[in-house]
Structures are given as structure tokens and as C-alpha cells.
């Protein structure tokens, strides 16, 4: 067959597929059992700086399981990336494309894509794993049985940051009379913590200064930092994404803001800090997993994937913050599938099975050791009611070359965060009249 006729044929079959309907469910090439894990990634577009390491980490861990163990529980993992460009339109297109092919779950990696999927998950029976992003209220498993957002929410993160600042000062009461600045992406993500921040300010007696950065102005923050220079806050807290992070770190360095008092939520990468030069030294951010490659799981990835040339990661980039976050994300995927296999006795599992499997996630220290993640992250236990775990986070500091963990794990203030999360879940249900009551049975008692 000539090349041209092949092109025509495939174009015709493409049109036929578009018209004709569903693709066949995914099967491994040799006809054996397989589990289809679509990965929504963004290696292109304005957010690709964060998206590429995450995508590599996610993919490499699953590929490592395929190479080392032949998949999970004897069933290969069919990994397929769908490029979203961090664009909601394309994300929904990806979702529609994979929906009929029995994906075990989706990882939208964008709050904008997560939100439309939340009501659909229960109907399409596809769990959504939005790891520490998305709708914070979805931590409530009784209201959102199909949505998972471990290991902590943005509210948890804020309470950890406040605790960290208090520890630095020598107690929560020392916050009284202090001034804390909050620089954030002026969108749902950055605005979510504000009510809680204001509550903290009232309860603990500190003054809160807000510095919103519009999404269109992420790379131009001079006016915000002029405000910081004028207000002289004692601490700065940042909730940023994409170009906001490196710009803020650069601007902070330029006005000689004391970097060890500049604490961010968990998204800035090495590149974000590095681009600000030596002035960024001391910059702090939260994290909940290790950085670097000194963990058995990362060694396995190097051995089975990177050294074999199966990875797209640039040399030396494995082990960076966001790469390891992708690894952590895929570990959760794998654990969900593994638990589902245990619960059902099947090798090839469905979204419904994996939803149960995710609820059964119990990362004990022993289990983490088996996974080669000893010291990589803290134990995590999910349940039917708790889809988040509200795990501890620690603070890491940029030493000019890499992030170094400082201090031990800090637990979120559950007494403050719990009510806010519960109220938000209730609010969501009220505003979406007819939100279904949980009918899914609970495995873990």
C-alpha cells in the first residue's frame, strides 16, 4: 500500500471513528490484562515549566513498574498522555476522548479542568485524583465519593505556614502585632485561603496585607513589591503558579526582602528559585515528599527507565521537586489500582474498583519501605470520609543549589481547617441543588 493511500485510509478511518463511536477498551498488546491510566499533562503552553517535570515524574514511575514488575499485580499499565496545555477546553476534550476506554482514573492537573469533572465523576464512574489541588472541599469523601485530593489541601497548607512562622517566632502568641503579607494568584486557587487567613489574623492578632497578582500580570509584579517595600511585612506568604513564582522570588530578591521570611505553598520548583540568582538563597516553601534521588524508588526509576532511555526527563532533572511530586502522584495511582485488585480479586480493574482502592489507601511506614519510599514521605491513610488525609508538611529552604529540608513535619491545625472544609462542602452541596447523596458502599470500616 502506498503511503498516500495509507494516509487516505487512516483519514477515512479517523472520520469513521469520530462518527462511529467508541474505541475498543484498552488491552495490552499481547491480549493480557491491562489497566489504562491516562495522564493529562501539559508539556506545552505557558505553564509547561511546571508541567514537564510533573509529567515526566508521573510517567517514569508507572513505566518503572511496567519494566521492573511487569505492571501492577500482573497487569500491565497502559500509559497514555493527553496534552492539555493547561487549557480547560483541551482538558475536557482529553476527558471525552478517554472516557469510553475504561480509564481507572483521571489526573486533571489543573483546577480549571478538575471543577467540571467533579459532577461527572460519579456519573461516568471515573475517580478524579487531584493531588493537593482542585476543590479543597472535595476532601470530604461523604459528599464527594469520587474525588480524591491527598495529602493536604491549600487550607492545611496555610495553617502549616502559620505554624511554621509561629515556630520561628517562638509561639503562636508571638504573632500578635506582626504584619504578614500575602502575595497570590488572583484566581480561585489564590483566593481560597483568604477567609481562613483573615480568621487567623483576627484570632492571633496579626495584620494581613493582600497583594493580588492578576493572571495576566504574573510577570509584572513591580507594583505589588513596591507595596511590600512600603508596608514592610514581617513575613510573606505566597500562593503562586506558573510564571508568578519565579517573578515573585526575583522581585523579592531585588528589594532585598529577607528570604527566610518568604514562605510559599508547595509549587515553586528549583528553576523558579534558581532564576532569581544568589539572592534567592533562603527562600522557603512547603513540601510533603523528599527531593533528590537518594531514595530506593528513584534509584529504581534511574535503573529501569532513565538508563534504558525510556524517559523524556532531561539529564539531572530527575529528583527535582516537581518531578518527585509526579512520582508521588503515580505512587498514589498505583496504590489505588493495587488495592482495587486486592479488594476485587481481578487483575484488570475499573474506575469503580479503583475508587474503592483509593479509599483503602494506607501508606504505613512499612508499606512505604516496601515501595522504596522510606523517608521520602510521611504515612498517609485515606478513608471513606476522609479523601485527603490532611497529612503533615515540612518546610524546605533553597540553599542556592537545591532545596534542603529544615525542621520536621508540621501537622495542619485540624481544629481550624476542619470546620472550614466541612462548611465549604456543605456550601457546594447547597449551591448545586440535587447533589447526589453518597450511595457508594464503604469498604474500610
Amino acid at each position: 500500500m502506498g503511503y498516500m493511500s495509507k494516509v487516505l485510509l487512516s483519514a477515512a478511518s479517523g472520520a469513521a471513528m469520530l462518527l462511529g463511536g467508541q474505541l475498543a477498551p484498552v488491552q495490552a498488546q499481547d491480549g493480557k490484562d491491562a489497566n489504562f491510566v491516562p495522564l493529562f499533562t501539559y508539556r506545552t503552553g505557558p505553564f509547561s515549566g511546571s508541567g514537564i517535570p510533573i509529567a515526566n515524574g508521573m510517567r517514569d514511575y508507572l513505566e518503572m513498574l511496567n519494566q521492573r514488575d511487569g505492571g501492577i499485580g500482573g497487569a500491565k499499565i497502559v500509559i497514555e498522555e493527553c496534552e492539555t496545555g493547561y487549557d480547560t477546553k483541551k482538558g475536557l476534550e482529553c476527558y471525552e476522548a478517554v472516557k469510553g476506554r475504561n480509564p481507572v482514573m483521571v489526573n486533571p492537573w489543573s483546577t480549571g479542568i478538575t471543577l467540571p469533572l467533579i459532577p461527572r465523576a460519579a456519573v461516568d464512574k471515573i475517580p478524579v485524583l487531584s493531588m493537593a489541588y482542585g476543590l479543597s472541599a472535595s476532601a470530604d469523601g461523604q459528599t464527594f465519593p469520587w474525588i480524591f485530593n491527598p495529602p493536604n489541601t491549600y487550607w492545611d497548607g496555610l495553617s502549616v505556614i502559620i505554624k511554621h512562622i509561629a515556630d520561628e517566632l517562638g509561639g503562636l502568641d508571638k504573632l500578635k502585632g506582626k504584619k504578614i503579607g500575602y502575595i497570590y494568584l488572583d484566581a480561585g486557587f489564590g483566593k481560597e485561603p483568604i477567609p481562613m487567613f483573615e480568621q487567623f489574623a483576627k484570632d492571633l492578632g496579626f495584620e494581613l496585607k493582600l497583594y493580588p497578582v492578576a493572571a495576566t500580570d504574573m510577570q509584572n509584579q513591580s507594583s505589588q513589591w513596591l507595596g511590600v517595600r512600603r508596608d514592610k511585612p514581617d513575613y510573606m506568604v505566597m500562593y503562586g503558579w506558573g510564571a508568578l513564582n519565579p517573578t515573585a522570588i526575583k522581585e523579592a530578591a531585588r528589594i532585598n526582602y529577607p528570604m527566610d521570611r518568604f514562605v510559599s505553598i508547595w509549587w515553586p520548583s528549583e528553576d523558579d528559585a534558581r532564576s532569581a540568582g544568589p539572592g534567592a538563597k533562603g527562600f522557603r516553601e512547603l513540601n510533603w515528599h523528599g527531593v533528590g534521588t537518594d531514595f530506593p524508588v528513584l534509584k529504581d526509576i534511574q535503573k529501569h527507565v532513565i538508563d534504558k532511555g525510556l524517559s523524556k526527563v532531561a539529564k539531572g532533572k530527575e529528583g527535582e521537586v516537581l518531578y518527585n511530586r509526579g512520582v508521588y502522584n503515580s505512587m498514589l495511582i498505583a496504590e489505588g489500582i493495587r488495592n482495587a485488585q486486592k479488594l476485587t480479586g481481578k487483575k484488570a480493574v475499573t474506575g469503580e474498583d479503583v475508587r474503592r482502592g483509593l479509599e483503602a489507601i494506607n501508606l504505613t511506614p512499612e508499606r512505604l519501605k516496601e515501595l522504596g519510599m522510606e523517608g521520602f514521605t510521611d504515612p498517609l491513610k485515606l478513608s471513606c470520609a476522609d479523601h485527603n488525609g490532611h497529612g503533615a508538611a515540612f518546610v524546605q529552604e533553597w540553599d542556592g543549589q537545591k532545596y534542603v529540608k529544615i525542621g520536621g513535619p508540621i501537622k495542619p491545625m485540624e481544629d481550624k481547617v476542619g470546620p472550614v472544609a466541612a462548611a465549604a462542602a456543605k456550601d457546594y452541596v447547597e449551591k448545586n441543588a440535587g447533589w447526589p447523596k453518597r450511595t457508594e458502599a464503604c469498604d474500610s470500616k
Binding site: L18, L19, G21, Q22, R43, L115, K431
Partner: protein, 358 residues
Amino acid sequence: MLYRETGQFKTSYKADMAVFPIRQDRIGLAVILLLAFVAAPLFGSAFLLSAVMIPLLVFALAALGLNLLTGYTGQLSLGTAGFMGVGAYACYKLTTFFPEVNLIVWILASGFFSAAVGVLFGLPSLRIKGFYLAVATLAAQFFLQWCFIRIPWLYNNNVSGAIEAPVRTLFGMPITGPHATPELRYLVVLSIVALLTWIASNLVHGRVGRSWMAVRDMDIAAELMGIRLLPTKLLAFAVSSFYCGVAGALMVFLWYGSAEPEVFSISQSFLILFMVIIGGLGSLIGSFFGAALIYGLPIVLKSLFPMLGLSVGAATIEHITFMVVGAMIIGFLIVEPHGLASIWRTIKQKLRVWPFPY
């Protein structure tokens, strides 16, 4: 041979001035409508309907709205996404305030809110033209998007800062929310788009459309002929914004299901402007062509690679798609600067004399 008007005699001025004077055109239109209304929902897959057709129709409607303003009246606007947002947010507020009223009523009503905002930002158009007007509409875009972010009332104080389409039904069947079938959503979108296209077609072929085109071609001459510039331009802004507003409401309620303010960003405005330019300024069918090319082509290209048996990374496909679409746009514009609609006209002209061109 098939496409020839020989023997079709017109015996009245009305028949001569019809929108589709040639019988084959009328048959073609009927076939297209039959395909769209009957064949697509019957035989189309869920993916085709919800990921290709619905977005395409929504974009076509928005492009049509912008085309009325930019293509027919010659007023350049960069505020399309903002006006779409007004429609979406208005529809959201209306349907959450009055949930018992049918959503379709609110989708159409939200267009009027958008039209009012459009008129407001169209006021400077009497004094400023061309690029300067583009800047004024750009201000509308930024201001409106700022409102969507900063006025919590608009999104009912949702913690997520996004608007979420509540479940609404039509004849007892859900048309929004997770249980809505793609077929029904598609039919609702298609009906609204078809209705508004028909209205637009009547508008541009009538007195209103002629006065718009007169203003576009030379406003001083139009004024001398007795066309009052301000009402004409404002009407164009109102009608255009109405279309964009309805498109925005359709987008959030029948396509996305929920939307952050980021959806209505400036890049969306540019996307629709490109659709209008590629499709053909001052052409209704061009709006559909433009939407199909800019939105549909990447999807087709994306599905082409796996079909050829080439295993290419998702990101590589995206890059290739960018390059191919970009090259095609430039190619099309070199071959036919007046857009796809002009190519379509040329093809029709050629067909009429085929196979004996003279």
C-alpha cells in the same frame, strides 16, 4: 454539471433577491440541516458530539457575533470573550435566582445583558475608529474579566471562584449537569445556533445589514445617505454582543459545565477574531468555516497520528499541530486573503461553469 442554474427562471423580484437563489443551494442547505439535526445525533459518537460538534457550534456562534460587528459593520473588537463572559455570568445569576424558569429562556435572555454591556462599550465607536476602537474594546475585555474575578456576587460567593452549571431540565430531561446526554445537549445548542443564524441572515440581508455595510464601506457616505451613524453602530454592538453572550452562556452551561474567569481571557477573544478573519469577514458561512478550521483542525490532526500508526508523544503532536495550523492559516491567507468564505464562493463560481469555463 450538477451545480447549474440553467432553467431556473425567476418570475418575481422576491425570488430573484432570495438568500439562496439557486435550487441546488437550497437542497444543499436542507441536506446539511438534515445531517446536523438527524444524522449527527443518531450516528455520532459521544466524543464527536460533546468534544467536537458542541464546541464548534459555540465558537461558530461567537464568531458569527463578532462577524456582525467586525465583518459587517467594520468595528474592530477585542472584547468578545468579555461579552461571552457577561452572557455566561448573567445566565448563571438568572438561573440561580429563578431556577423554575426554563434554562433556554435564560440563555437567550442573558444575551440582552451582554447586549447592554456591548452598547455601553460601543459608545466610543462614534468618535474613534480602527485600532483606537480596538483599544477601547480591549479595555472592556480587561474590565469585564476583572469583574468576573473581583465581584463575588457574580459567582454567588463560591469558594472555588468559578461558576458551576446547576442541573436544569427540558421536557423532564436534563440538559445540563452530568446526566445530560451529549445528544440532547447537542440538539439544544444546534437549535439555538440555527435559530440565531437564521435571524442573522435576515438581518444582514435586510435594511439593517445594508446600513451596517454602508457604514463599514464609508461612514461619511453612509451618513450623507441618511444613515444615522451612532444608532447604527450601537445596534451592531448590541446585536453582536447578544450573539456573543448567548455563545458564552451555551459554552458554560452546555459544554464546560463550570468555568473559571480565566476561560474568558483575552486569548479567547483573539481566537474568535482569528476565526472571523480566517473564515471570512462579512460572511455568515465564513464564521462556521473559521470555527471549523481553528477548532476542528487540531482535533483531526491529533487523531491522525495514532491512525497512521505513528507513535508520537502527546506534546510533540501538540507542537506539530501548532505548526501545521499556523502554516495553513498563512497559506490560506496568501491564497485567499478574504478567507475561506471567499474560496467557497470561488469554488461555487467555478462549479457553475464547469466543465466549460469560458
